[in-house]
C-alpha cells in the first residue's frame, strides 16, 4: 500500500480521489486531457434503466462559490451504458469504475443494478437515492430511512459488488438514514449529494433554472458536507465516501479527518477539467506540510 492508498469496501484505491458522478461523464472526455488512470477511481454518470433526456434548459445557474444544476439524470439508459459507454471507457481506464445508479421504483434500481453487476469493469455500485432534480424518484427514496433501507436490501440481493448508498443532505436526520442503510446491508455510504437551491433572475423576475429549483454544489457547501460526513461516520461502521465542494488537496485531507475513507470531487471538475489531477499531484505536498505519513491513518482523525 502506498502512502496515499486507501481501501474502499475491499478494493484498494491508489489514492482517495474520485470524480463525482455527473461531473465526469463516462471518463473518456477527460482521458483526452490527462491519463485518468491516476485517479483512485471515478463514479460514472448517473444511470437509469431507460434512457432519459432530463430537464428543459436552462439547467445551470451561477452562485457565490458554487453553482446550481438541474440536469435531471440525462443518460442513455443502462443497456447503452454497458454496450457503448463502458466499451469506450475500457480503452482509457484500466481500473475498477464506480457505477452510479438511479431509479424511479425499487424494481428499476434492482434491474439496473442486476445488469451492471455483470460488468467486470465495475468495482462498486453507488446507488443514488438523493437526486434532487427528478420527480417521483431519486431523492424521495433517500428522505425516509425505511425506503432507503428497502432499496438497499433489494439491490444487495442482485449483486455481489459492494453497494454504496449516496445520500441527500436535504433531510432532517441523515444519520438515521445512513444507519438504516447500514442495517439493510449497505457496504458503504457516500454523501453529500447537492443541496436543493434556487436562483431568481432580477431582469426577468423568474427562476433562472427552467425546473425552478436544482442542486447546489461547489465550495460553498463544503462545511455542510464536512459536518455531515463527521456525523454519519461517527454513527456507522461501514466506510463513508465524503463529497460536497471539495476543490483542493487540503479539502481532501479535511474530509478524511472528518471520517471519509475516500473523497469525491464534483463541481470543481466543471470549472477546472484538470481539478482531480491537480489535487492528486498536490496531495504529497499537503501530507508533508501537515506531517501525514499515510492517508489511511488519518481517516476519522478528528473524532
Amino acid at each position: 500500500m502506498g502512502k496515499m492508498s486507501v481501501n474502499l469496501c475491499g478494493i484498494t484505491l491508489d489514492n482517495p480521489v474520485i470524480p463525482a458522478s455527473g461531473t465526469f461523464g463516462f471518463g473518456y472526455e477527460f482521458a483526452e486531457l490527462y491519463d485518468i488512470n491516476i485517479l483512485g477511481t471515478f463514479s460514472f454518470k448517473g444511470t437509469t434503466l431507460n434512457s432519459r433526456f432530463g430537464n428543459p434548459t436552462p439547467r445551470i445557474a451561477e452562485c457565490t462559490a458554487g453553482m446550481i444544476n438541474a440536469v435531471g439524470l440525462q443518460n442513455p439508459g443502462v443497456d447503452k451504458v454497458i454496450s457503448e459507454e463502458l466499451v469506450k471507457l475500457k480503452k482509457c481506464f484500466n481500473k475498477k469504475v464506480m457505477a452510479n445508479v438511479s431509479g424511479f421504483s425499487v424494481d428499476e434500481y434492482v434491474e439496473t443494478c442486476r445488469l451492471i453487476d455483470a460488468c467486470e469493469q465495475v468495482g462498486w455500485l453507488e446507488v443514488n437515492v438523493s437526486c434532487p432534480n427528478v420527480h417521483g424518484g431519486g431523492m424521495s427514496f433517500g428522505t425516509l430511512p425505511e425506503s432507503a433501507a428497502e432499496v438497499t436490501r433489494a439491490v444487495k440481493k442482485v449483486t455481489t459488488k459492494p453497494v454504496i448508498l449516496k445520500l441527500s443532505p436535504n433531510v432532517t436526520d441523515i444519520v438515521a438514514i445512513a444507519k438504516a442503510c447500514e442495517e439493510a446491508g449497505a457496504d458503504g455510504i457516500s454523501l453529500i449529494n447537492t443541496m436543493l437551491g434556487m436562483r431568481i433572475d432580477l431582469k426577468s423576475k423568474k427562476p433562472v433554472i427552467a425546473n425552478k429549483m436544482g442542486g447546489f454544489s461547489g465550495p460553498a457547501i463544503f462545511p455542510v458536507a464536512v459536518r455531515m460526513v463527521y456525523q454519519v461516520s461517527s454513527a456507522v461502521k461501514i466506510p463513508v465516501v465524503g463529497m460536497g465542494g471539495v476543490s483542493t488537496a487540503e479539502d481532501v485531507v479535511e474530509m478524511m479527518l472528518a471520517g471519509a475513507t475516500a473523497v469525491e470531487v464534483g463541481a470543481a471538475n466543471l470549472v477546472n477539467p484538470y481539478a482531480c489531477r491537480d489535487i492528486i499531484e498536490d496531495l504529497p505536498r499537503v501530507m508533508e506540510k501537515y506531517r501525514i505519513d499515510s492517508l489511511e491513518s488519518i481517516i476519522g482523525g478528528a473524532h
Binding site: E32, T57, E62
Partner: protein
C-alpha cells in the same frame, strides 16, 4: 481543448454595451470558425463561454455584450492575465457552403461570422453578410466585414440605419447557395423558416463546463440528444427540432 493563461492586450467598447477583447496566448486549439472559448473570472464560479471573432497565431479576439455580472466584470478588465479554455465546440463546416453563401448575424451573434467570412473568402468563395441590429447605435463591425471583401447588408429593426426590418427581410433579395447564422433564438427560427437552401445555425445556452462533462446545455435534435457545447454550438438546418 486546451487550458491556458492569456494576457488581455485590448478591451475596448464598440457600442454602449458591446466590448472587444484581445487575448494573447496559445491559440493553437482554435481551428475552426464558430468555436468558443470559456473564460475564468475572479470571484465567479463558472466560466463564461464567448464565441471567437478572430484568431491569429498569437492572439484571439472576442466580442461580448455586457448582460450580467460576469460580463460586467469582464468589461472592467484592462491588462489582466486570465485562465481560458480554448478550442471548444464544433464550429462551422465551410465545405458545404457552395460559391455564394450568405451569413446572417444578429447582435452579438455577429462576431463568430467574422472568422467564418474570412475563411470562406480565403477558400475563394463570395459570401454575402447580413448584420441585424435593433438600432443604429448598436451596430458594430460593418466596416470590418467590408474590408474582408464581403457584400455587407445591415438591417435595423427601427429603420435608423440600412434596411428597415430583420435579417430575413434582407435575405429575400439575395441569391445564395447556403446559409450560416448566429443570433438570438427567435432570429434563428425565422432564418430557418425563411431560408431556401440548407445551412448551419449556431445556438447559445447557459453552460456548466463548456466541454461536454455536465450535460447542462443539452438539446433535442432530430438526430438525437446533443450538447450545445460539444456536438454544437453549430447544428445543421436538417437536424433542428424547435421545442420552445
Amino acid at each position: 481543448m486546451k487550458q491556458g493563461l492569456f494576457k488581455i492586450t485590448k478591451n475596448i467598447p464598440l457600442t454602449d454595451s458591446v466590448y472587444l477583447m484581445v487575448l494573447e496566448g496559445d491559440t493553437s486549439d482554435i481551428t475552426v470558425p464558430g468555436q468558443f472559448i470559456n473564460i475564468k473570472l475572479d470571484g465567479q464560479f463558472l466560466r463564461r463561454p464567448i464565441s471567437v471573432c478572430d484568431v491569429s497565431n498569437k492572439d484571439v479576439t472576442i466580442i461580448y455584450k455586457v448582460v450580467g455580472h460576469g460580463t460586467e466584470l469582464m468589461s472592467g478588465y484592462t491588462n489582466e492575465t486570465i485562465d481560458v479554455l480554448t478550442g471548444l465546440g464544433n464550429g462551422y463546416d465551410t465545405s458545404l457552403s457552395g460559391d455564394r453563401p450568405v451569413l446572417l448575424g444578429g447582435g452579438v451573434g455577429v462576431p463568430p461570422l467574422y472568422l467564418l467570412a474570412k475563411k470562406l473568402i480565403e477558400e475563394g468563395k463570395k459570401p454575402s453578410v447580413i448584420l441585424g441590429f435593433n438600432t443604429k447605435n448598436e451596430i458594430f463591425y460593418e466596416d470590418e466585414f467590408r474590408r474582408l471583401g464581403a457584400d455587407v447588408y445591415v438591417t435595423t429593426v427601427d429603420g435608423s440605419y440600412g434596411i428597415k426590418g430583420f435579417v430575413t427581410d434582407a435575405l429575400k433579395s439575395i441569391d445564395y447557395t447556403y446559409f450560416y447564422t448566429c443570433g438570438p433564438e427567435p432570429m434563428l427560427k425565422a432564418v430557418h423558416k425563411a431560408s431556401t437552401t440548407s445551412g448551419q445555425l449556431s445556438f447559445e445556452e447557459r453552460m456548466g463546463c463548456g466541454f461536454g462533462a455536465c450535460m447542462g446545455c443539452s438539446c433535442k435534435t432530430l438526430t438525437g440528444y446533443k450538447r450545445i457545447c460539444k456536438e454544437g454550438p453549430v447544428m445543421l438546418k436538417e437536424e433542428i427540432l424547435w421545442e420552445k
